[in-house]
């Protein structure tokens, strides 16, 4: 714990310096102890932080003024007067969370603890860049107006289906990223930052879903977890020592690139076991009439999706069951390699393909248990995620909440009362506005030609 050496030398009484720069470190410590529930009374704060009573009182007064803690509730008395409970005001502001899929997006609001308060999902053609950006802004505004008291907005956390390469030392997104690859001109990040005047974070959906599963799903309290998302692409996330592993460049778990073989065919796991393969085989089975369920779907004029094949498999259609089981065996082969290497406590399968049927889970289990060392599988649990698409929103909210209160970033804004007043963020906004202004004004005029008109 970083000590605030200036504080003990202060004199009691009015006029003592409180909101000084030197108090920031202890404010950060005290706030994070309260926020994470490690101390719930002044006594506990003194004990855990090792700050003196006067410092704790002073910092709590400051945090109360900033609207970040509340001491109005009484705790349980243990022999004397009941202590005042110190609570973090998680409703002080909101975090917006956005998740992109290949064909849908979701927008939600979370409190400062990362708890998802409300969410809305809708299908969309996300290749329509400007329409999608406008739509997201409209939905954010709608969600904010549905809040009973118009809260401040402190951050926007985005989950995207691609790996996102970001500066690991940056507190928030400083430079525009290359997502989506064909969205280079959408200005999504800039539009959101400018319109909502708040910092933005962006992570891959595998990262956010892994975080969501860790904080709110089957991964709660787990020290090691392998998370596998099965959709058009197949990716993995890793939790080690209770923390998400980010790798050197934030590109963890691109297992969809790994080659697998089925019969005489060899290809990447994405191509051989992903949603596109499932859909292609399903459409073929519908046209040939091998699958009566899918042939019926086709006869009704509906377009067959990978989800239809999953649902048909769940309803007992033999051809669809085999398509999904084959996908599960290939995924299981790769998961078995990872499990033997990493020895996780838990493997979680997620994504629309894994969550709409039992066949994939059964097939992956069978392959992993058959291909792994008994010591590795002795206590291993392989589950299907129960968080649905909420995992990405929940994880994105957790990532933003942790980033907002990261001690280094928090120290830069706590005395200003809001992360939106952090000097780095204001500088970023200013730079962005200057760049936009220059772009609007067009290139500087070319030097006048000295030649006279003919």
């Amino acid at each position: 714990m970083q000590r605030d050496n200036s504080a003990p030398n202060r004199q009691k009484g009015k006029g003592r310096p409180r909101n000084s720069e030197t108090a920031a470190a202890s404010l950060v410590d005290v706030l994070n102890l309260v926020r994470l529930g490690r101390a719930t009374t002044r006594q506990e704060l003194e004990h855990v932080s090792e700050y003196g009573r006067a410092i704790i009182a002073d910092r709590l007064a400051t945090l109360t003024e900033l609207g970040l803690v509340d001491e109005s509730a009484a705790g349980i008395a243990t022999g004397g007067r009941a202590p005042r409970l110190v609570k973090f005001i998680k409703d002080r502001a909101r975090i917006v969370v956005v998740t992109f899929d290949q064909s849908a997006f979701g927008v939600g609001l979370a409190d400062l603890s990362g708890k998802l308060l409300t969410e809305h999902h809708e299908t969309a053609d996300v290749t329509e860049q400007s329409m999608t950006v406008d739509r997201i802004c409209t939905l954010i505004n709608w969600l904010m107006t549905r809040q009973s008291e118009a809260p401040d907005l402190w951050g926007i956390s985005i989950s995207v289906p691609e790996p996102v390469l970001v500066d690991p030392n940056a507190a928030f997104l400083i430079e525009p990223t290359e997502f989506p690859p064909n969205w280079s001109n959408s200005g999504l990040i800039e539009v959101l930052m400018r319109r909502f005047q708040s910092p933005v974070w962006m992570h891959s959906s595998v990262e956010t879903m892994t975080m969501g599963e860790l904080r709110g799903g089957a991964g709660i309290a787990q020290q090691s977890m392998l998370f596998v998302k099965v959709g058009q692409r197949i990716g993995a996330g890793l939790v080690s020592n209770g923390q998400q592993y980010h790798g050197a460049a934030g590109a963890v778990g691109l297992i969809g690139q790994l080659p697998v073989t089925s019969g005489e065919a060899t290809g990447s796991l994405d191509a051989m076991a992903g949603a596109n393969m499932i859909k292609t085989r399903g459409i073929k089975a519908a046209h040939t009439g091998e699958s009566t369920y899918l042939a019926d779907v086709l006869a009704r004029g509906a377009e067959i999706s990978a989800i239809d094949i999953c649902q048909a498999a769940q309803m007992g259609d033999a051809v669809c069951t085999e398509i999904i089981a084959q996908s599960g065996r290939l995924i299981g082969t790769i998961v078995a390699t990872l499990v033997n290497m990493l020895n996780p406590q838990l493997v979680v399968l997620a994504g629309s393909i894994a969550q709409t049927n039992d066949i994939l889970l059964a097939s992956v289990r069978e392959t992993v248990y058959g291909a792994s060392h008994p010591l590795v599988t002795r206590d291993l649990r392989i589950l299907r995620s129960q968080m649905s698409s909420s995992a990405a929103l929940f994880g994105a909210a957790s990532i933003a909440a942790e980033a907002l209160f990261d001690p280094t970033f928090l120290k830069g804004w706590i005395l200003l009362g809001s992360p939106t007043r952090h000097p780095d963020f204001l500088h970023r906004l200013e730079t962005m506005n200057t760049n936009t202004q220059q772009a609007d004004e067009g290139p500087p005029p070319a030097p006048r030609s000295r030649s006279k008109r003919a």
């Binding site: 409300t118 809305h120 999902h121 809708e122 769940q314 649905s388 909420s390």
Partner: protein
């Protein structure tokens, strides 16, 4: 018809056929002598009555005894009391329509924590997850209902007009989806139309809110009310000002159906299928009690009801003959 919306957590819809019961399933369920409790937001609306009928009938066919049907009168306190009381009775399953998203969360979680399978209708309290905290959500495609309502109203709106939405104040999945979808459809298909929104806390207060909205925006040329019961209050409030103001709503309640059949002010309705939804809820419950996996979200498509098809839709939804007044209005029967 296809389902256009997504579930409360982004789930893709499963059709009600996904929870089909075979004769052997019904025999197995009957042998279990199941006890099921139902907790409804209200029992006063026509929609709720039909839904309950569909549930009770199908549960009866499976030998499941319905031990209680509770009317919460839209009160979260009443629902919490009911859920806590029913939990003590240890039924095999509880079917609930949560009245809001926050206040009743704990009471619903306590049901699943007690090991009682919970099947939800139309709404999911915040933070509850399918498969973990509840078996399934069974609802209409509410996003689709909002789109149908917008399309129907659009046909009666002149270029550049203003449309009003009377939306529900409570954070409720079904009505949120209808409201969002209505605005979305207008945004894409009728960008010339401006949409203004007012919210009512109770169905009875919808009339006052509509009146205020009309005061604020006197040029409003059409209204969408997110379900039929408040729509009746809105018709009464607005008729003094403009008896011909076109309106659309959701649910083929008897009074709005009469208005539609007469030619207005209700000019179109997005119809739900409450009886079939009730049957799907019951089948989902039985499927779960037979230890089979249920889809996270079972959704039923809506019906586009206009004056031209109101009688057949009425029969299809309510499973009875359309009221005599309506038939007379269409010259389909003789007056006495």
């Amino acid at each position: 018809m296809t389902i256009v919306g997504l579930g409360p957590h982004g789930e893709r819809a499963s059709p009600p056929e996904r929870v089909t019961l075979l004769p052997q399933d019904i025999a197995e369920a009957r042998a279990k002598k199941l006890r099921v409790a139902i907790v409804m937001h209200t029992l006063e609306s026509d929609w709720a009555k039909q839904l309950v009928q569909g549930m009770i009938g199908t549960l009866g066919e499976c030998g499941a005894v319905v031990i209680d049907v509770v009317d919460c009168h839209f009160s979260s306190e009443a629902q919490i009391v009911a859920l806590n009381r029913l939990r003590e009775k240890s039924p095999d399953a509880i079917i609930s329509l949560p009245v809001d998203n926050t206040a009743v969360t704990k009471a619903h979680l306590a049901i699943s924590d007690a090991g009682i399978p919970l099947v939800l209708i139309d709404n999911v309290p915040t933070g509850m997850l399918p498969g973990k905290d509840y078996v399934s959500l069974v609802s209409a495609d509410n996003f689709g209902l909002g789109k149908i309502s917008a399309k129907l109203l659009s046909d009666h709106m002149p270029h550049g007009a203003t449309a009003g939405i009377l939306a529900y104040e409570a954070d409720f999945f079904a009505t949120n989806e209808r409201e969002i979808a209505f605005s979305r459809w207008m945004e894409i298909n009728r960008p010339d139309i401006t949409v203004k929104t007012a919210r009512f806390a109770t169905a009875g207060a919808a009339g006052l809110e509509a009146d205020q909205l009309m005061n604020d925006y006197p040029k409003i040329a059409g209204l969408f009310v997110v379900w039929d019961t408040p729509c009746i209050a809105v018709i009464t409030a607005v008729s003094k000002r403009n008896p011909a103001l076109p309106m659309t709503t959701v649910d083929l309640g008897r009074e709005v159906t009469e208005s539609l059949a007469k030619g207005g002010p209700v000019i179109g309705i997005a119809g739900q299928r409450p009886f079939q939804q009730g049957e799907a809820v019951a089948r989902t419950t039985i499927t779960a009690l037979l230890d089979r996996r249920c889809p996270d979200w079972v959704a039923l498509p809506g019906l586009k009801v206009s004056r031209s098809n109101v009688i057949e839709c009425y029969q299809s939804i309510w499973r009875e003959q359309a009221p005599r007044d309506i038939l007379i209005g269409f010259d389909l029967t003789q007056t006495k």
